[in-house]
Amino acid sequence: MAMAAFETIDTDVAVIGSGGAGLMCVLHAAAADPSLDITVVSKGAVGRSGCTRMVQGGFNAALDPDDSPELHFDDTLKGGAYLNDQELAWTLVCDAPKVISELETVAGCFFDRRPDGRIFQKPFAGQSFDRTVHRGDLTGIEIMGRLRDQMFRLGPRELEDARALDLILDSSGELAGVSVLDVRTGAVALLRARVVVLATGGAATMYRIAAPAREKTGDGVAMCMRAGLELRDMEMLQFHPTGLLAGESRLTGAVLEEGLRGAGAYLRNAEGERYMERYDPERMERSTRDVVSRAGYLEIMEGRGTPEGGVLIDISHLGIEEVERRFPGMVQRTRQIGADLARGPVPVSPTAHFHMGGAIIDRDCQTSIAGLLVAGEDAGGTHGANRLGGNGVAESTVFGARAGDRAAVIARERDLREPDHGQLGRSVERAFAPLGRDSGASPFELTRALKEVMWDSCGVVRDGERLRAAAETIDDLAERVRTVAVPGPAEVNYAWQEALDVRNQLDVARAVVVSALSREESRGAHHRSDFPERDDERWLRYVVVGLDSDGELQSSSRPVALERRRLASKA
């Protein structure tokens, strides 16, 4: 298909993504310099896409005088099995209290209070202090609703229903901007920017059973990869232990919150056994996400699962009224699938939830490309090998804010560049190719095939043989994605958008599989049945992958810098 004429939009700061990281970035960039021209590019509805919106649990911040950033830091490193980038983790815990205060006093959020009127903080798994700030079980709606309201005060240019395709460089290799496709009209624009901030969210949707919102197809990470950036910890993909099983329904994979296990829920296999006895007799169901997920997965794989292919969570022993009072949202969610959490067991399975890996950044979200910042789930390092519940929305908002601060500084220093039109043309041509073909693979088939292979071969428990087979399957799928065909028109064509999504997911999936093959040990979320032990002698290192100049994916590893904390005695 011939490339249509396109519009050029010049802006100071282009923010790609409108979740917690993206909108916090706008808030901070605008506060730092109200004269900045800021553009938000959002694949879905602004402020109503992505996963910050879906946060149930809450936000970790050391607010109490008896708590401290040091304690929060230690918990975060322990949770991350010491793979964390300590500078990023330290930044997270130091900034989190400031951001909570800002969300309340500037954005207008109101979090749950103690009887004395001060912010209430609840306990959460893996933490030595009660530090999780929340608003009921709808914390994400409060944060995103109020950040969305701030946009009416600040008035950035909003490109809603607009997909960022590729980072575009100038002829000398400097960042010039982003190619953007308007999903409604099918028109392409070149967004020239002094600074580009990527904040699109992770790619956990590439698994058959997955929790995130539909937009999360690894767009930012795939764009980084194609632009030659290095990625770290890509094998570290967190599975939440209790995803809803609802057959063919899209509800499958939706999370039943962590608080259920905290409140005393039992996990049983189809034989009625509380199987956590065999995996973690001390902590039982209250063990960490990685351990509980793995246990459930092994029960299912060894034939002790339910007919639905799950295990059972049961909290009905607390009594109907108590369960309804404490977990109204969760009760409603299970009743929707014909089960009832208040009255009996509900089938659940581990569900792909969060990607710890991503682009390599410094504490101001800067990458190796001048003018390109990355914030939130698109970046790697903060959480190491496993993320604590409550550190996700903290990361998005803390680093989104820092990206905004930094963007305002860079925008004053960097000029707009003239894009390499050849590169721009290739970006657009590649995006439009599926519309020009008469026959070829269906994007929905490819998505389904990718979800199957990732679930079966690169999931909760991995081994070298299956990972190598998965790499081949992904190569085949990548071939087929080059022949995908979608009937026109270009306007509001969600099958075409699916084709563009799956292309990004495949790029990210390949990085996950290659990284998983390379890490020959088990740590945090990454478990190899052929290397079941954690190996601190050899593997206190993070895996780095990136495309070389021939487009081949290369992997290497680097030692974790233990500048703030040495390795504590192994838990």
């Binding site: 109503r48 919106r53 879906m54 205060s101 009887p115 001060r118 409060e142 609703g145 899209r250 939706a254």
Partner: protein, 234 residues
Amino acid sequence: MAEVEQATVSVRVARSDAGAETTFEVERFEPMTVLDLLLAIQREQDLSIAFRFSCRVGMCGTCTVRVDGRAALACTTPVERDVRDVQLEPMAGLPVVRDLIVDMAPFWDEWARVTPYLVPRAGLDEPAVIEPDSEERRRIDPSLDCITCGACYSSCGVSASGRDFLGPAALTRAMVLVADSRDAARDERLRAVGQSDGVDRCRYIYGCSAVCPKGLDPAGAIRALRRWRLGGGP
């Protein structure tokens, strides 16, 4: 009444293009939501059908459609076992972009007119100390958690008919901010909602409160604003 289980569901969808297929027989599975119907149609029968969704768990508020005439979130509306026919239309009162996707701009225009963001009072430098069972919070808390899905707008006889009216969602947001002791723009907001396109336009049809997927009561919020407008606040 005995439940008769249906093997397929007949789905009628309002389409934008003349000539586009409007009726689909969808094989049912259990459990099934209206969103599942749409996804099955898209995957198996008509790649070109246009609808919006994101979170699929009732939190993003972007999948609102009219199901048999009533505005609802597609993702949280079950297709019960005995259902034979379902009719799906876009929300009322908003321009259709394509098929079931509407342009929410008129909804957001109203939202913007009530100054929807907190205007922090002087000295609000740290989180305010406000007891959870204070009168203020008892007034506000049941009206939070609006997901701006537009179901109330679509169901409001005044908003959806294109009359000049701030509408149930924006007025609920205004009520929350007027009641918030941290906010400094109470008087302006009370003036804004007292204009001719404000609270007096409400006809108390209660469509808004009947359809809200989050169980909020916009009609109650509008009643509160009517009272406060005279007394200068809560």
